[in-house]
Symmetry: C2
Subunit: 345 residues, 2 copies
DNA sequence: GTTAGCACTCTTTAACGGTGAGTGCTAACT
DNA sequence: AGTTAGCACTCACCGTTAAAGAGTGCTAAC
């Protein structure tokens, strides 16, 4: 859809004005914001056309215009100029990220918290996917005579642990056998190959030790699955209450939707693996609960390949021009940090 | 303050009615709920006295009555009969708790989630305090040439870990020295004695190894502090939005208050160490944000001594008679589960 | 001490009219 | 053909008013 230059300027001004004030914007109010001078009648004519093209709408006959989802979309794709990231914002992000320490999951959580606070939106992130990671180390830490804690460390620096209970005494000789099995069958193995087929062939090879070792080995499989799974981390949900006059009483539904997490997970994983930031506006999101919300999300890469995403969720009248660069900056930084941890041997 | 039997019945009926409907209750509506028959005028007279005594109040002159905080207090202390816990409720709690596995922190989180869902309130819990726990085991898991993951296991089954970075090579001999120090100075030590004084005297005794071992040993101290600290776990905050016509737009403030956590921590730790359930109604809580909320909280014991608390937060017109037994039942069950994990060696 | 009766208070709801912002349209202008 | 001034029109918003209804406090009789 082609738009004349003047229509573009008008659409852009309406979007920006509406983002700023939250009020429908009328033809007169626009005149100030425009850098060329025409009469309000001209603007009205143009706006009427923008309405019939589907970029603007009127809440009711005699009100100003507000952007439709398509209006925002056009704005984001063609009109918006990304504002450069504020020095103070940059510092806050950096300070927040660096204070998180080196645990990848903690880092992601912290990143979300910073982003939420900064943008006054809810933040969603996924922990680094274990895809492509392999098992680096497994330890069995005896806790009692019948219990041991199995600790699994992946090549990506993620640590998972679980207590395991056995019917037989976990004597030193059992532990030794366990370590043998671990050394020959697990160390160095990609997480994704610890599947049922692999486990079954392992059982076959264990011989008579199967009964004593099985509980321990099963836990390894659990942990591998666990490390493979990416988790959804939420932050700043209550920020959305700031827009409660926008969300009305559907705020609860939205928060519940976020809390449930599974649909969100799909949403995030469908983000294209491209480098840029992805913006989903209102009904572009395939979930009823997000109809009035926009999602700004970006992937973070570790060693150059996509490993997870971080994004924010807010009302559709979010400040795209300001927030997109923030999300971008943050994900880049997180990627750098994680890459550093990875390669830091 | 003494109340005639009739006043008690009337107060009780008002509280229960108001809890059920959320509407101010008038004299006529009460007649049905009372098991003796008098006229509405008599009830009115009694209610007027209850107002002047401070147990009831009127939102405005010609409305029904609603209980004051003191009214709820009298109800909880003298009038309420705890309803027996529902069979289906019991099953849901048990199912939820048992599905949590044996990690104490996970268990607490799950318990909170179940309670929140069941009561339609927000849940707050504290993880088991490390007070009185000692260091059971410490492992150093090399991750790279300059990094190792230190894992600390307490006598209470809590596992904490942290990655530690050293300037010098973490060769096998360094690790061996580390284990020696651990064995002689840390294993069996109560968490609370790993303080700065202890660390200083340790540094003195390390001699020339101090530079290689110090980073590792410092992490142990961090982990001990970490294990000692109790954490606040929240759940079901968004449930509070169900009462948004009750909370109005102070809902955000309330949620933020919960999210911050520190004040909550004080609140919970001030729960008497007695066995029962503690109820704090409205302004009995020393925080402005909780003025319109009630807290029902109970401690859980491990091996007979108080280790943490679990509770719920909701509007003051919460169903005390039904929820108090639920909280009680849940905390007892959690205590049992944790005690079992503890003693299960 | 209890109750019937009644006037009174105060909220809620709907209806009403005025105001103002903003529009769409038409006719004149460049 | 595009632009603009002018104007009638629409509709949310606001304050007022009126009626309805719920519930009360009080008084006087039981």
């Amino acid at each position: 859809m082609e738009l004349s230059e003047r229509k573009q300027k008008i659409l852009g001004a309406v979007v920006e004005q509406y983002i700023k004030t939250g009020e429908p914007v009328g033809s007169k109010a626009l005149l100030n914001a425009l850098d060329f001078s025409v009469s309000s009648a001209t603007v009205r004519n143009e706006m009427a056309e923008l309405v019939s093209m589907g970029f603007l709408e009127q809440p009711h006959t005699s009100a100003g215009r507000i952007p439709t989802n398509e209006g925002y979309r056009y704005y984001v794709d063609h009109l918006m100029v990304n504002s450069t990231i504020d020095e103070s914002v940059r510092r806050r992000i950096e300070a927040g990220i660096h204070s998180a320490g080196s645990d990848p999951e903690k880092l992601i959580e912290k990143a979300g918290a910073v982003l939420a606070e900064l943008t006054d939106c809810a933040a969603v992130s996924t922990t680094p996917s274990g895809e492509g990671a392999s098992i680096k180390r497994i330890e069995a830490v005896p806790v009692g005579t019948h219990t041991a804690m199995i600790v699994l460390l992946t090549s990506t620096g993620v640590l998972k642990s679980k207590v395991c209970r056995s019917d037989t005494d976990l004597s030193a000789s059992v532990i030794e056998k366990f370590y043998n099995v671990v050394k020959t069958s697990f160390i160095g193995l990609p997480l994704s190959s610890v599947d049922t087929a692999m486990m079954q062939s392992l059982v076959a090879s264990l011989g008579s030790d199967v009964f004593t070792l099985m509980p321990l080995v099963t836990v390894i499989s659990d942990l591998a699955q666990d490390a493979l799974r990416t988790e959804i981390v939420l932050g700043g949900q209550s920020n959305l209450l700031h827009y409660s006059n926008y969300y009305g009483n559907s705020a609860y539904e939205l928060l519940e939707f976020l809390r449930r997490g599974e649909p969100l997970s799909k949403l995030l994983s469908s983000v294209s693996s491209q480098d840029g930031v992805e913006v989903r506006i209102g009904s572009e999101n395939p979930y009823r609960q997000l109809m009035k919300s926009s999602v700004i999300v970006s992937n973070y890469n570790i060693d150059g390949s996509k490993r997870g995403s971080i994004g924010i969720i807010g009302p559709t009248r979010i400040d795209y021009a300001k927030l997109i660069p923030s999300v971008k900056f943050l994900t880049n930084l997180v990627g750098e940090m994680l890459t550093k941890t990875f390669n830091d041997e």
